[in-house]
């Protein structure tokens, strides 16, 4: 059964000429790669372009994979780099209208206020600096451990923690302002007061 083959074995099979191995690998991880790309690149069009570029790159340079990290980490690293590059190139073209569509189609039972909060959270996430957004998407949204996120982002674990802390502080501050416009925006929420420096 092909599902019993490990990711590393699939990649090795691809390098050795198996014409179906990389497609199987892509099929296994496409949804999670898409979720990361969607929020890192800043919208579905850029995510699609960046993800396609990244997959072609991974396909071509599979032979350079040395097994020092998990295959999924390697794939995510290529995807995140491509997405950040794409986002930097199109920084002057914000695309946040996809967020409402995402939540309309993804939620059927959430109450309206929770959905609205999620939409505001997505918009605030899109406004974060690239490095902070990427760290939060990997750690808080997708559930990667700090060490895995550090491997994907190519930075020390401490840097990932710092970026997450600063990003969370900004998110909390923005959400507080949105939910309570009369609140002092200079007052950070509980537990986040010391992480607002940048």
């Amino acid at each position: 059964m092909i599902n019993e083959v490990s990711d590393a074995d699939l990649l090795a099979a691809h390098v050795n000429g198996d014409p179906h191995a990389f497609g199987e690998l892509f099929g296994r991880h496409r949804d999670r790669l898409w979720a990361v790309a969607l929020r890192t690149a800043g919208g579905p069009d850029d995510a699609a372009d960046a993800l396609q570029d990244a997959m072609v790159s991974a396909f071509r340079r599979a032979g350079s994979f040395r097994g020092e990290a998990a295959v999924t980490t390697w794939l995510h690293r290529i995807v995140v780099n491509a997405c950040l590059d794409q986002h930097r190139r199109r920084r002057n073209k914000p695309t946040t209208t996809w967020i409402e569509t995402l939540h309309e189609t993804a939620h059927t039972v959430d109450d309206m206020s929770n959905r609205e909060l999620q939409i505001e959270l997505e918009k605030a996430l899109a406004e974060l600096p690239d490095d902070q957004r990427a760290a939060i998407v990997l750690v808080d949204v997708e559930g990667y451990g700090v060490d895995d996120a550090a491997a994907i982002l190519g930075c020390p674990p401490g840097t990932v923690k710092s970026r997450c802390a600063r990003g969370r502080a900004k998110l909390a501050k923005q959400l507080t302002t949105i939910r309570n416009p009369d609140a002092d925006p200079g007052v950070l929420p509980k537990n986040l007061g010391g992480a607002g420096h940048d």
Partner: protein
């Protein structure tokens, strides 16, 4: 909202599956790449649907683009090659389709400039920026050669490849690229490491 509440909200954000059209496009791109490899490691990556969309109107615009080629001269001052981030301008190489990869390496990527900028729109800073945007090229512009391809005036544009230093992306475009619809004559992705051995 506490940090824990915020993290809970973040982890509860929906993660939609990859849309079918995106899956299909990537699967097709990978299949094209596999077919290219099966043909002997050709150096051309099949154009993606994104690029095909851009190219779909080019045939109809070919006549207009030809006129633009004739008009696209002496519009802007050339890019200064002394700026650290400026692309290398190498003018005048003659490229042939059959030997393009070899020509590119010998006459552009590893050769000294045949001459400086040509004072055309194509190698002006404005022209280069407009052209890269028009063809939707990736990455940083590394070099521009205003020469000829297949016995017709053409510009060879070399850019870095996103996230991968192993590759460079090469576009052969009309001299009027950026001042009208981009006339992409050829598009390829170089494997820089492999090119050392195989080109």
């Amino acid at each position: 909202m506490t940090e824990e509440e915020l993290q809970a909200q973040l982890s509860a954000l929906p993660s939609p599956p990859m849309p079918d059209d995106v899956t299909a496009a990537i699967t097709a791109a990978l299949a094209g790449q596999a077919a290219s490899d099966a043909d002997g490691g050709a150096d051309v990556v099949p154009l993606t649907p994104r690029h095909r969309r851009r190219l779909s109107g080019l045939l109809m615009a070919a006549a207009v683009a030809g006129v633009m080629m004739l008009l696209a001269v002496t519009v802007q001052s050339p890019t200064s090659p002394t700026e650290s981030d400026s692309p290398v301008i190498r003018a005048g190489a003659i490229y042939e389709p059959r030997d393009f990869a070899q020509d590119l390496r010998e006459r552009f990527l590893t050769a000294s400039p045949a001459s400086g900028p040509t004072n055309t729109f194509a190698d002006s800073a404005q022209g280069i920026t407009a052209c890269t945007e028009a063809v939707d090229a990736f990455g940083r512009v590394m070099g521009v050669d205003v020469g000829s391809y297949d016995e017709a005036a053409a510009v060879v544009l070399v850019t870095s490849y996103p996230a991968q230093t192993q590759y460079e992306e090469v576009w052969v475009v009309s001299p009027g690229c950026g001042s009208g619809d981009p006339q992409v004559i050829r598009h390829m992705v170089y494997d820089v490491d492999a090119s050392t051995d195989t080109l």
